[in-house]
């Protein structure tokens, strides 16, 4: 799960070729790795890939700041 998301972000979404490989603790939002359209693309990807639905109220920093956060969110979601 971790790798799928990291790969998708690194290969599809980032604005620049990242200098260091993306890690699950990297701040995706504050650092500008992803902009809002990119974030939405990631959400659409996650919804598709893991067959869940992310409602607007879940779209908060707490759930999407890092790939780690996303994993936690998804785990809670699927429990």
């Amino acid at each position: 799960m971790n790798k799928i998301i990291l790969d998708y972000i690194s290969n599809e979404l980032t604005n620049e070729q990242l200098e260091d490989p993306l890690e699950s603790g990297d701040d995706l939002l504050g650092s500008g790795i992803l902009d809002s359209m990119g974030m939405m693309k990631l959400i659409l990807f996650i919804e598709n890939e893991f067959e869940i639905k992310v409602p607007p109220e879940d779209m908060v920093i707490e759930n999407f700041m890092t790939v780690g956060h996303i994993i936690t969110y998804l785990e809670n979601k699927t429990v």
Partner: protein
């Protein structure tokens, strides 16, 4: 382009490109898509290398080699393989002149770019050796903000490499073609269907674009001006801080900024348009992959964000909704999802650009985005936010379309926007309407009014008396053949004053004047003023109850009236001055009287106006207010002749004050036209015919009445219109027919601000909008246009009108609460009040106020705010319409109300139509029943009588003595058991309507077996149709079911030679279906005459054209013999058994068990569906009425009745059954608000024509759903359109083609009043059909009885079916009465 090679791919345009291409075609010469940047480079530059680099840039960037052409009008683009562009060097080194430079940039940036040849332009400006400016102008069709940053960076990459000699070391920028392919694939991808659907739904075709400051871009002008609003470091910092707030922040920091500005823009547009539902278009960058992030070209698409704002919203609550909206926007706003439809849905753009220009080593530079002076004409306002150069300070550009924002607004609007930014930064939790957005200068301008007190010290009566010195022998008043000079009228007035004084009337008293328009009226008013009293004018045609109320509420000391009028009044408590009886006494008084000097502060008159509570409210106007209006009008309306006014409008309407006083204080003449005692007051027609007056004051509706009169030799010089919205078309038509010598004025003013306080002179050249503006405040009056927070709204924006100044009333008589609600503390002036008018207005471009309707007429329909007057104005523009009115019919008012009270005695709910309760909460039916209860006793009989009747012609050839109707319920079971007990041979009959409960059926089987009687089930395949018809006609299922039972059982009885059908109707049901109070009015009436009438009614009942008649065989009912062969007998007419007795008997004899499977006391399952529909449509259960009678007659107690009426209804089950029988539930849900358009015209205009006409001017949601042609517009006594009357027309009346005509004579009025009472309708036209209105046999009994009672006639019951309209019946009555007279 030098060379064009063949075999180049012709590619389709993306959606965004197509939108821009089309936009450019619409305005071919406007540089509306020129995307211009200048880069101010502060270093040495090798010009040769720079030009070479640019050539490399063109060579390596396909969009710069793209040109556009059309094939069969379809545009396509091609990328040329080679293209030479010679970068021009502009040399400013010979003395750099800033203004010259800017002029150059301005001119050059507006240069037209040729899409077919070269969609870009560039130049290098040399300022000096160390400073260059790179000018780059690219057509939007091939670029966007990010695209420009990519080109910029690439350009310097080429430059550096060339400079270093590394010519071939650079990758070209990626090709835009990839995106074209991708976008095309996306928009056709089936997976994106949901997203496209989302936008389709989002784009509400009926959405109206907000009018910013009330303005529109009617001629689609493209010119726009960009105003830069530097937020500065401080505000930018505060915005960044605010965006860290947990409640504020969104997913990303940039998204937070975006949402904050979207919130601000929503709020701003709401504040400057007074519209609640706002859509703004927001740009999406669409670079959704790493490749696209590096690709130059036009990627952006614009998608709408839509929010509904309410006054109680805070910035934060708007932000929260914006966040949700944005998240949907991002999810669905993917490449290729935009469409032309979508982009028509907004006129305000939010463009938040996050792109930045790269920092180029060795070349410190600042960029500037140059506005080319034009924008898409659909974009009235564009708000760009960016920080291109990473300064930390956000830049806001506001592009104002100059047709929408004039020069002044372009100066003010940014300030307004900034006010909102500051308000949000100060406190995001404050209401969006709490902060004022206007500037100090605007405030000062809006508050300037002639408020310096220059009040005259002379009261109106003093001014009248001064005419005695100036014009004593001039004619002051003409009335019929009477002519009175000033001194004569003064003498009469003095005599009356002396008489009144002797009757105890003295200064400070209140005197009601209830008279026709007459000399007596004028002398009474003048006498009242001379005495220093307050007069209360009450027009002669006021209904008795209203007069009584006014007399009581005004606390008046005396009532001046005459014999004819007094006849209808009852109150004798006050001092009556009957001018007829006292004529001699008055004439004997001395003709001198010294007027009491009344303080200007004292109350001159109290005029009662309609109140929303239904009770009129008295408006107290001081002598100072009256004098202020009269003094102003004296000068303002002056023409070269002295005023000759008619007194032709209602004295109870303050509009009439003008004519009452203006001629008499100026030495003019007043010609009095009295009202006719019957019918509408149309003296105005006589006034025009007589052609004696030069000045007239009236309402627009009255003016419309005389519109087509012959004015060829008219003396009219002055028309003052007031009281209603004044349509320009009407003003124009009058001006045309009377000529240029006529001055027409539109005077606006509620009674609470004394007659008129805002005025405009009609100018046919200037006043081309649909309504004549109301104008500017008169002397000593101020007008404020405020929002719901009492902020002054900017000019142009709609707000509510508040008034202040000398003309303001002292409040409402004895109603401090209401006074305090409407007369508020004036926040703009110390120690002053302001009156809340409830009228919506705005300032137009000429600074005149425009009336836009009532706040309470501003109705909300499906979430849209709609001004009814707007629709009316547009209907009035239809060439064939004379007058139009639009009302919102609110059938929801019928819905079950929560605060229902039930009659203390019978339990009848207050939601039952036309029910009155006394102080003890007892209904009027109970009370009136007490008066004729004894008489009803003779209708009821004993069981012995029944046995006698049923055995009267016992015949051995007959198998059965009677047929009895058995439903399986307790009442019918008891009937059966008793009949058996009486020793009768009984056939039992049950209608199986398909919904008899299983347990009820079991009861029937068990009982008939136990009692050993024959039983048959009747049925019809048409039952469901009958149910549906019954639900439409009667809003219940029972009526249809009953009629089916009667029809089928009569047939069975006829076939089996059975003489009697015995029903189990309860006594309460008799009063629902057979008996009416009227039947007992006749003292001599015995049971037989009542039976005869009921039989007549029954015959009529079976003739009604309904589903039963259409689907069952009812031929036998057309034969009178049927009613002789089969008689109906109501068992409970003969039995007075109580419920307890009944239940004991049933248990013993019949083994009857209460069914439990209906969940209710009934044995029929569909019954509750009928009750449900009835409750929804009528607001109460159809059992309320019969049960109340059961209680009244002592057959049930109130609690039992209420319990049964309030039984739970299983709505799911109801809906299932309604589906099953084919009743469209939409009929039920349709119980909604709808707009109805009424109009008068020579001929009926097809609805579709009206729709097409409105479609030119209005959005679809403002179309009335029905139109109704009226022969005449109903007017109130004051001559305004009577909207209450229109609103009370029933659905049936609206549906029918019958033209509404009010009664025209007394007989029609009488019949109308009786029909209204019996049919429980608020309004019936004389051509409405009795049967179509739902008048059935019982109603016929009641109507006929009442008419017979009133006229002492003996008309037959069936006459009403022969002559089913009021008009026809009235003619019949008249002929009958004439015949009687001749005898």
């Amino acid at each position: 382009m030098s060379e064009i090679e063949k075999n180049i791919n012709e590619t389709e345009l993306t959606k965004s490109q197509l939108a821009i291409w089309t936009g450019q075609q619409m305005a071919p010469d406007a540089p509306l898509y020129n995307t211009v940047y200048t880069f101010d480079i502060k270093n040495k530059l090798d010009v040769r290398v720079f030009r070479s680099a640019f050539q490399y840039l063109v060579k390596g960037t396909d969009i710069l080699r793209t040109v556009f052409n059309t094939k069969n009008t379809i545009p396509y683009q091609i990328v040329l393989p080679n293209f030479n562009f010679n970068l021009e060097l502009v040399d400013f080194t010979n003395g750099f002149n800033k203004s010259e430079y800017y002029k150059w940039v301005e001119l050059r940036s507006q240069a037209k770019l040729n899409l077919a040849k070269c969609p870009f332009d560039s130049a290098l400006i040399k300022v000096n050796e160390n400073r260059f400016v790179w000018f780059l102008n690219i057509h939007h069709i091939i670029t966007d903000a990010i695209s420009t940053t990519l080109l910029h960076e690439k350009m310097f990459e080429y430059y550096s490499n060339l400079k270093n000699g590394d010519e071939n070391n650079i990758d070209d920028l990626p090709s835009f073609e990839d995106y074209i392919t991708f976008e095309n694939k996306q928009s056709n991808d089936i997976q994106n269907h949901l997203k496209q659907e989302y936008w389709k739904v989002k784009i509400d075709k009926s959405y109206t674009l907000p009018k910013l400051y009330g303005n529109e871009n009617k001629y689609l002008k493209t010119a726009s001006e960009r105003i830069t609003l530097g937020l500065g470091l401080d505000r930018s910092k505060r915005i960044k801080e605010l965006s860290k707030n947990m409640a504020v922040r969104s997913l990303t920091p940039r998204l937070t900024i975006f949402n904050l500005f979207a919130t601000l823009l929503f709020t701003y547009v709401h504040r400057i348009s007074n519209q609640n539902k706002i859509t703004i278009g927001a740009t999406a960058h669409n670079r959704v992959s790493q490749l696209f992030q590096k690709t130059p070209g036009l990627f952006i698409e614009i998608f709408p964000l839509l929010i509904k704002l309410e006054d109680q919203d805070t910035f934060l609550s708007v932000l929260q909704r914006t966040k949700m909206e944005t998240s949907d926007y991002l999810r669905n706003g993917q490449p290729g999802m935009a469409s032309a439809d979508i982009s028509r849905g907004f006129n305000v753009i939010l463009n938040y650009m996050t792109s930045k220009f790269a920092l180029i080593e060795d070349f410190p530079m600042t960029s500037e985005w140059i506005h080319a002076g034009h924008n898409d004409p659909a974009h009235h306002l564009r708000c760009h936010i960016y920080d291109f150069d990473s300064t930390g300070s956000l830049e806001i550009h506001l592009d104002f379309n100059t047709a929408v924002f004039d020069k002044e607004l372009r100066y003010l609007a940014p300030k307004h926007f900034l006010c909102l930014i500051d308000a949000m930064l100060d406190d995001i939790n404050q209401h969006i309407t709490s902060a004022s957005i206007i500037t100090k200068e605007e405030r000062n301008e809006l508050l300037t009014g002639d408020v310096i007190s220059t009040n005259s010290k002379a009261s109106v009566i003093a001014q009248f008396e001064s005419q005695l010195v100036e014009n004593p022998e001039k004619i002051a008043i003409r009335f019929k053949n009477q002519k009175l000079t000033y001194s004569e009228i003064n003498n009469k007035t003095n005599q009356l004053a002396n008489y009144l004084a002797k009757q105890g009337v003295s200064k400070g008293d209140i005197v009601a004047i209830h008279l026709e328009r007459s000399t007596n009226y004028i002398t009474s008013v003048l006498a009242a003023l001379k005495l220093g009293t307050t007069f209360v004018p009450i027009s002669s045609e006021q209904p008795k109850e209203r007069v009584q109320y006014i007399l009581q509420d005004s606390n008046c000391k005396a009532l001046i009236s005459n014999t004819v009028i007094l006849r209808k009044l009852e109150s004798k408590k006050i001092n009556l001055i009957n001018l007829d009886d006292s004529a001699e006494d008055i004439e004997n008084q001395t003709t001198t009287y010294i007027s009491q000097a009344s303080e200007l502060d004292s109350i001159a008159y109290v005029i009662y106006t309609s109140g929303s509570t239904g009770k009129p409210k008295g408006v107290m106007i001081s002598n100072a207010s009256l004098a202020n209006y009269i003094n102003w009008s004296k000068g303002y309306y002056a023409h070269k002749d002295s005023y000759v006014f008619p007194l032709c409008t209602s004295i109870g309407f303050d509009l009439t004050i003008t004519a009452t006083f203006l001629p008499l204080v100026t030495g003019g003449e007043l010609i009095i036209y009295t009202e006719s005692s019957i019918g509408p007051d149309i003296s105005i027609l006589q006034v025009i015919e007589d052609n004696l007056v030069n000045s007239i004051k009236l309402t627009p509706s009255h003016l419309a009445l005389i519109k087509d009169s012959d004015f060829s030799s008219s003396k009219l010089k002055l028309i003052i219109v007031g009281g209603e919205d004044f349509k320009s078309s009407l003003a124009n038509s009058i001006q045309d027919s009377v000529g240029d010598d006529l001055k027409i004025f539109n005077e606006y003013g509620p009674t609470e601000a004394t007659v008129g306080c805002i005025v405009s002179r009609y100018n046919s050249d200037l006043h081309i909008e649909t309504s004549v503006p109301i104008g500017i405040p008169i002397k000593n009056m101020s007008a404020y246009v405020l929002d719901s927070y009492h902020n002054l709204v900017p000019k142009g924006v709609i707000g509510e009108l508040y008034l202040s100044g000398t003309g303001l009333a002292k409040g409402y008589a004895r109603n401090t609460k209401l006074s305090n609600e409407r007369f508020l503390v004036n926040p703009f002036q110390q120690n002053a009040k302001m009156y809340r008018t409830g009228d919506l207005v705005r300032f137009n471009e000429s600074d005149e106020l425009e009336y836009l309707g009532r706040v309470d007429e501003q109705v909300k329909l499906n979430g849209f705010r709609i001004e009814l007057s707007d629709i009316e104005a547009n209907l009035n523009q239809h060439p064939n319409i004379n007058n139009a009115a639009v009302v919102l019919m609110d059938s929801e008012k019928k819905a079950e109300s929560k605060d229902i009270i039930n009659c203390k005695e019978c339990g009848l709910p207050s939601s039952y139509p036309n029910i009155d309760f006394d102080d003890n909460n007892v209904c009027h039916l109970c009370n009136s029943f007490k008066g004729y209860k004894e008489k009803t006793d003779k209708y009821f009989k004993t069981e012995e009588d029944l046995i006698q009747l049923l055995t009267s012609n016992k015949n051995d050839n007959r198998k059965y003595d009677c047929l009895t109707l058995l439903s399986g319920g307790k009442d019918s079971t008891y009937v059966l058991a008793r009949l058996i007990d009486m020793g009768l041979n009984v056939l039992t009959f049950t209608l199986d309507n398909g919904y008899i409960s299983d347990q009820a059926k079991a009861n029937i089987t068990r009982i008939t077996e136990k009692l050993g009687v024959d039983h048959i089930y009747g049925a019809t395949p048409h039952m469901n149709k009958i149910f549906v018809d019954s639900l439409h006609r009667h809003k219940n299922v029972c009526n249809g079911c009953f009629k089916t039972i009667y029809t089928l059982s009569t047939k069975v009885a006829l076939e089996n030679n059975i003489p009697f059908v015995v029903t189990g109707l309860s006594r309460g049901q008799f009063f629902e279906t057979r008996l009416t109070e009227e039947l007992f009015w006749d003292e001599d009436a015995d049971g037989t005459t009542i039976d005869d009438t009921i039989l007549e009614a029954r015959k009529l009942y079976h003739q009604e054209e309904d589903a039963v008649k259409n689907h069952l065989d009812t031929s036998m009912f057309s034969l009178d013999s049927t009613f002789n062969k089969v008689q109906y007998v109501d068992f409970y007419r003969y039995s007075n058994v109580s419920l307890t007795e009944m239940l004991i008997f049933l248990k013993e004899k019949a083994d009857w068990v209460r069914p439990t499977d209906t969940g209710r006391s009934t044995n029929c399952l569909i019954n509750q569906a009928g009750i449900h529909v009835h409750k929804k449509e009528r607001g109460y259960s159809n059992y309320s009425f019969p049960y109340s009678w059961d209680v009244r007659l002592g057959h049930k107690n109130r609690d039992e009745a209420l319990e049964e009426i309030n039984e739970h209804i299983d709505e799911d089950e109801v809906h299932r059954m309604l589906d099953e029988i084919g009743y469209k539930k939409s009929d039920l849900d349709n119980n909604k608000k709808q707009l109805i358009g009424f109009y008068t015209s020579k001929e009926i205009i097809p609805s579709v024509d009206l729709k097409l006409h409105l479609a030119k001017h209005l959005p679809e949601y403002m179309f009335p759903s029905k139109y109704k042609h009226l022969k005449e517009m109903p007017l109130t006594k004051n001559g305004k359109i009577d909207k209450i009357a229109l609103r009370t027309l029933s659905d049936i009346q609206l549906e029918s083609d019958v033209v509404y005509v009010a009664p025209t004579n007394e007989i029609e009025e009488l019949v109308e009043s009786i029909w209204k009472e019996v049919l429980q309708m608020d309004r019936i036209g004389i051509h409405d059909n009795f049967i179509s209105l739902g008048g059935h046999s019982l109603a016929a009994i009641r109507v006929t009885a009442r008419i017979n009672d009133e006229l002492q006639t003996n008309f037959a019951l069936n006459k009403i079916f022969e002559l089913p309209t009021i008009q026809e019946y009235a003619v019949y009555i008249e002929s009958q009465l004439m015949e009687l007279l001749q005898q």
